[in-house]
């Protein structure tokens, strides 16, 4: 007969240990550093430079997205900001939602809505048509 008792310190806890939280922690710092440049640049251009928000309209967007440079800029910003923010929200849900069920469903809602917004934003950048309408 096999020993019904598990060997000391060989429980399932050790098997399930992963570095996910470490990578999440590192991702927040790396993406944050890149986002400082992408987002502050975006805010400066859109809200302060050359008349700020008052000059923004469809034609302005069409002019910007005719350049691959701004397409890559906006796409990187979209993905990094939503993954950075999504991971931050995940941390906050883990911290404050005490019931297992609540925590699970709040995170499901977060993951699904974040995935939809990332997909929508990506679709908009890739399928933008300046001659629409």
């Amino acid at each position: 007969m096999s020993n019904p008792l598990a060997a000391p310190r060989a429980g399932s806890r050790n098997k399930q240990r992963s570095n996910f939280e470490l990578y999440g922690w590192l991702f927040m710092r790396i993406s944050g550093l890149i986002l400082v440049f992408l987002v502050l640049g975006h805010l400066f251009i859109m809200n302060i430079l050359d008349g700020g928000v008052q000059r923004i309209n469809f034609a302005f967007v069409a002019g910007r997205w005719s350049s691959p440079f701004w397409q890559v800029w906006d796409l990187s910003m979209l993905w990094l900001a939503l993954l950075h923010g999504g991971n931050g929200m995940r941390t906050i849900i883990n911290d404050y939602a005490e019931r297992d069920q609540t925590r699970f469903w709040l995170k499901m809602l977060l993951y699904v809505s974040t995935a939809i917004i990332i997909a929508l934003g990506t679709l908009v950048i890739f399928t933008f048509d300046p001659s629409i309408g």
Binding site: R29, G52, G121
Partner: protein, 140 residues
């Protein structure tokens, strides 16, 4: 007491902790509040920008709301929140990766507060120049 830094009076904050009490805790709280606020705005912002795929008129209409005085003021709040989150984020990275970071975390808090003010004062002016002009200016 032997463990207190000379010249600093005893404070409620336990010595040697970063996130309990004082600047370390309140910047942590603000980092969460600004982060959540910006995240919710991000959802709205992707949705409003998605209207460029509907029609130029639909996009121009939603963008017109961003140009009204009240939303213009909210944009200043958004920029203020993003700037704090960014500067404090750099401070956190320095605390985590710079060997002297934890020692200077309190000083760094006041440095980022100063930079924030230095950027926000002219920033607010340039962001709201049109609104100020429309509301109070003699020429329209």
């Amino acid at each position: 007491m032997a463990i207190t830094t000379p010249g600093r009076s005893l404070r409620a904050t336990p010595i040697g902790t970063l996130y309990r009490g004082g600047e370390g805790m309140w910047t942590w709280v603000l980092q969460r509040i600004t982060g959540v606020s910006v995240f919710f705005f991000l959802f709205v912002h992707v949705l409003d920008t998605a209207l460029v795929r509907v029609s130029p008129a639909a996009y121009d209409e939603i963008i017109a709301t961003y140009k009204t005085p009240i939303v213009n003021l909210l944009e200043v709040g958004l920029v203020g929140a993003v700037l704090f989150h960014a500067f404090n984020g750099i401070r956190i990275i320095l605390i985590d990766f710079w060997s002297k970071g934890p020692r200077y975390q309190r000083q760094m808090t006041w440095v980022i507060a100063a930079i924030w003010l230095f950027v926000m004062i002219p920033g607010t002016y340039f962001m709201m120049i049109h609104t100020i002009d429309a509301l109070f200016g003699s020429t329209t």
